[in-house]
Point group: C2
Chain length 158, copies 2
DNA sequence: AAAATAATGCTATGCAATATAACAGTCAAT
DNA sequence: ATTGACTGTTATATTGCATAGCATTATTTT
């Protein structure tokens, strides 16, 4: 029942309790926090954070998409995309165009500069991922991606 | 270059852009957010959220630990643990005891009630994890845990 | 055709998690 | 004996995400 020696506390680095280390949710949170921190650091060179990057990539890949649909895809609140779009637009990365058939909708189209920047961001984020995943084989990375997708239910094709 | 049909936007559920689906960080964030949301919901029955639970589990498993060391283990700020401990203490889940050798340090010990509650929380969170991971075999769960641990560097023993 | 329902983009506001800065008291090291 | 480091703490900032509501426009139901 005693177990731990109680020694000097400031020795740093002790392990997480077993009960937590057994929980996948715990590892998910730690890994995700670590990733988000470093991903944002990597993207600083492009002057964005992960969310604006995701929005721009979505516009680039689905030209003519509406902001509401981006929100559905990225599961974010319509209210929260507003400042993100405002900034991307101010930087000239996409344009809004009125939908001819539905006056509520603005369709978003990437500019040439937007496509360039999206490519640059992809380069930065890919380098970051490579660093993060250096300890895993390609097959393992695929497995990991697949399992994570199953958890939040985007195909995971299993 | 055209690709997507542009159709009605409100059809819901479209897939994330390929560029994002290739990123493990993207899946990490989505999976972690999903987990955190449901874990907190599951823990509502015990009147805690994930962080206070983690703190209590740590005290329970390492009796006599100091708050500073909990912060080092869970990688949280010393400032932020204060209200967490205040609440757990108010609920009678642990006790503070002065360290005989170092007047700066308070050593934290779980009460009987604290151990009970910790057990109860573990039950709730385990049920939640079981639901979350229903689509994965036990071997896959072990693999997932191992890979996540490698990412943020808590053994992962690989 | 009228009325009810719902979607869009948006403002304003809230909350929870995490981060930063500073402090007094205590201990360790030179 | 001074310097530097660590503890627990207060106060405050920042960030990400959530909620509520609004005017406008479309769709659906009656």
């Amino acid at each position: 029942m005693s177990g731990e020696p109680l020694k000097k506390a400031q020795e740093s680095a002790a392990e997480s309790p077993r009960a937590l280390r057994d929980l996948i949710g715990y590892h998910l949170k730690r890994a995700s926090a670590w990733d988000l921190h470093n991903a944002n650091a990597a993207l600083e060179a492009a002057g964005v954070r992960t969310v604006p990057m995701s929005v721009l990539l979505t516009i680039t890949e689905k030209p003519g998409i509406s902001s509401a649909e981006i929100c559905r895809i990225l599961r974010m609140q319509r209210a929260n995309i507003v400042p993100v779009l405002a900034e991307l637009e101010a930087r000239g990365l996409f344009l809004r165009e009125a939908d001819p058939d539905d006056n509520r909708i603005q369709r978003l189209f990437p500019t040439a500069k937007g496509r360039e920047e999206a490519q640059r961001m992809l380069g930065l984020i890919s380098a970051h991922e490579e660093r993060m995943l250096a300890g895993l084989t390609m097959a393992e990375r695929d497995e990991l991606r697949r399992m994570l997708a199953i958890i939040w239910r985007e195909d995971g094709e299993g």
